[in-house]
Amino acid sequence: MARLRQFVLAALGVALCSLAIAAIRALFVTPNLSTVYLLAVLFAAVTWGWWPALLAAVLAILSYDFFFVPPTHTFNIHDPAEWLALLVFLTVAAVTSNLAARERARRDEARRRATEATLLYELGRSLSGGELASALQEFAARLMEAFALQGCAVVLNEGQHRPRTLISVGAAAAEDSAGTVLGRPGGKRRHLGRWIAVRGSGNSRRPPTLSVPLHVGERPIGALRLVGRRVISDDETRLLATVADQLAAALERERLRQAAQQAEILRQTEGQRQALLASVSHDLRTPLASIKASAGSLLTPGVDWSDEDRRSFLTTIDREADRLNRLVGNLLDMSRIEGGVVRPQADWYDLAELVREVIVRLKPSLGGRTVGLECPDELPPIEIDYLMIDQVLTNLLENAARYTPPDSPILVRLAATTGGQQIGVVDRGPGVPAAERGRVFDKFYRLEPRGKAVGSGLGLAVARGLVEAHGGRIWLEDTPGGGASFCFELPAPEPPPPAPVLEASEAQT
């Protein structure tokens, strides 16, 4: 249609030139005004291209011959010079219109390329923006605009039957009718090596969908679906191929980024695990070394040890065996805590009674220091796992003894709080520097500069795990006047029920 219009306009242009020539001849006497037609021809060439220009040239010659070359109003030419003039005219018209047409074509091409480049640039920019989901939204929107689509979708092949829809905008594009994603059929090349399938008829229920496969190298990873277009030109095909490559590259980039992140996490975890294993290995082997050395000494043939020496070696063996036992217990507790299998078997106990029993049991090993107990008169029973809270308190007391001078007193303070009951182990030692306070409850953390790091570094971590398994919390405070206070709170959401069934009659014996 447009072509016809161009021809008609070209013809009109020629007619206009004829009129102009007639007018000029009326005013002046000029030999040859056929060059006026060149205006029309050139105009047609520049504006509409080669064919309209050719039509204009032919019409121009005919018009000139008919209207202005004697005999007028005929197609005959008497004067041979006129023939030459017409021939020259034709040649000039042909060449110039060719040049002009090519120029125009080049200009159109340049403009088209510029549009394409802009589109590609904008699509590329939208894909490179931060988060993939929003980037894809922008990408889809621009694509829909550029290609006048009803809808747009990107699907990813993930090895399962149905491809995963990353994004779907506008009319439903990822219909199940789409089925499998296209790959590259062997050997056949079409549209720059991409197969682009058209699905769906023209009706509104299943709009035509173009499916552009996305490739990374040879590997198909998914497809870009464009809804609402049936045919595309070669130029558009080329553009879509480039767009598809950009999209595929962006998706691949995202996949690699995630993989790199995972790898980094794994690497760090591996690093931590190695460090822990090294630490545990050292902690387990140190007491074993003492045991081995002592036993070996006692077994040395030919050496006659005094009773005192013998006793000393054996005491070492006994003591180091205890230490090893404690470490193994801590490790098992820690491993249970980390594995999430710590489930308190809670019963109603009197916390003050528990504290007293632990203090009595630990007193001999606390080095003869005074351990005081401060607690309110009537503390109601609280639901706890006795053995676990026993372990928590034991760890805190042993910790306090280990990091304070041998005659420094320790105080255990009980209190009822709004949410439950609280126990604090207060010491008057050097305290914990503020910088390290956040890390004391970490696994294998030891305050190194305190001299002999005798502990396993697990006591506080185990305490924290057990307290938190009860839904409680544990923290560290400064003792006013110097020292550290390790406190933990256990929740008591409901008061203990009065247990009516077990209180039969009130008859006294």
Partner: protein, 236 residues
Amino acid sequence: MSGARVLVIDDEPEVRRALRMALSGRGYDVQLAANGEEALAEFDRHHPDLVLLDLQLPGLSGLEVCQEIRERSSVPIVILSVQGDEPTKVRALDLGADDYVTKPFGIDELLARMRAALRRGGGARPAGQAVIELGDLRIDLERREVTVRGQTVHLRPKEYEMLRYLAANAGKLVTHRMLLRAVWGAEYEDARPYLHVHVGQLRRKIEPDPSHPIYLLTEPGVGYRFASPDPAARPS
């Protein structure tokens, strides 16, 4: 207890060797078994006076062996358990074991428990005494009267029952379930949550210093023990 026959059942050769040496050094006559089948065969053949049973055995489990032995006789059984294996420990005690020792154990502790168990005789058979006396505490079982330093103590019926049962099994480790069953009946076997509260109340009535009990001892996570009347062989 010289001459008493002890059957040691443990799958670890090192443990068997160490126990044989330690026990025979104290005058015991030691028999060894490495697994359940051997143990039962030895038991039938020699009828030991006491059994030391490791709970972790290959093949026939420690619990099964305990049950088998208990069905055949009321011989005292002391089980050797691993720290942290509370459920199995309690289960064994419910099945009739008399006491337990946790590995790794001090040999003195083991010997003390063995002595106490031998003195009591095994099984859950309460002693047939009319009066139980321990320090300032006096329990008259016939008249159902409890006095501390001569002063009568008023106990609720269930409190008395608890005290009576524990005292009759003095020195023996009584699990929560055994106590609940004995005092409240089989249907309250699992009504543990309030048991400790009741024991606490009982303690407040009979102990000279309830916060440092000397009669009613708690075995955390497992049960209770009434202190043995013979101070020389009190376990712990």
